[in-house]
Amino acid sequence: MHVSDPDLKRTPLHEEHLMLGARMVPFAGWEMPVQYSGIIDEHRAVRSSAGVFDVSHMAEFRVSGECAFDFLQRLLTNDLSRLSEVGSAQYSLMLEHDGGIIDDLIVYRTGDLEYLVIANAGNHEADAEWFLKHKPAGVEFADESARTALIALQGPLALGVIQELCGVEWEVPQRFHVASATLDSTVPCLVARTGYTGEDGVEILCRSVDAPSVWRLLLSFPEVTPCGLGARDTLRIEMGYHLYGNDMDRTRNPISAGLGWVVPASKSGYIGEEAVAAARDGVPATRLAFLVVEGGIPRPGHPVLHHGAVVGNVASGTFSPTLDTGIATAYLPSELVSEGTELEVEIRSKTARATIVRPPFVKTTSLSGQ
């Protein structure tokens, strides 16, 4: 049944996925596993135990040099000066001059004058172009995506697994920090305490050639389940985490997207600053709302109605395995976006009841106290 498209790129773990019986689908120009045993099984494994995800399709850029700090401080919205120590990391946004979101990404400080940026696969070329267009002398920019694999290990049991693989001497980095490690005394990698599931865990960066070894080492633990992009999506929607292309794009600014916290008001001198300041001063026309939907499964594009009138469309929508109900995000007129507002989602010929809630949809336990 496996038909492959020669135009799609493959990660270094492609053969591993096929051997595990994964269902492969096209995603952002890549051939990726959407599921192995089943999305709900995999979702529950991450919430209760641990799951491993191949996210090697994501882009890795290394930015270094005397002017690297100033360069990233100008291109990204979060305040890079908060990364005061080597090994710290932050979520950030890259904006156009009009405030439109080019991408969301994570910046890791990997050296005094060196940063690693992990960005969305779908924005790989656009990001690289934007970085190169603005890069001054004194900044080295290297696209390391092709020789870098990224494997996420997520779930309440994830830290125990990584600790065992890295040895008792090795110290698990703090949340939003990264540390180098040697897995099983043989494989060099970077271990970042970040993720996209709402559970504690790590994301492991290694050389592409080492990816199959890392993957197999992780799966040698009975508590670790291979998970595909299907579960990654349901897990992140339950947490209210944004997905680029659904919950934000170049037509949305950070304030409207509910990402004002990624653009500190105290920060200045970044691209998009005037537009963000203007958006902060007024009330945005629309805001991203979070909806619990009963009586159907909301999908991207479904109309959202208020008293029978269409007021927006579903941006992200799925079935929540944890809540056993539909959940969705949608850009809606700001005046409607408050907790408890009753709406309807038109799911083909039927309407389902929807209520605005505060994210996250699901409160997880493994990250509490962080």
Partner: protein
Amino acid sequence: MGHPSDRSYSEDHEWVLVQGDVVTVGITDFAQDQLGEVVYIELPSTGDTMNQGETFGEIESVKSVSELISPLSGEIVEVNSALSDTPETVNADPHGEGWMVKVRLSDAAQIDALMSAGEYDSFVTKG
């Protein structure tokens, strides 16, 4: 593959089990496997009319929505209402407890046009 030989199959991956002038309809093991975990099912009501080739319901997995296509025409005499609370039964037992509707046929000859288990097995392995 090995779908049960006591019933007939449609190209839209429904099975039909004949018991007198009433037939039971469900989706095949192949179909449930392709869909993945079923999380929502929309079925018609008892008394509704079903027309061959037309949609009689919808089935959703986490990732996808599929239409249920009527393999036959007739009047719906019973609906498996348990599926609305436990749609996963379709995955666990597609040819048994996961049945969807029972239909009183208006044209018994339509059954002859359906596939046998052997024909359906080769139909799905050819892709």
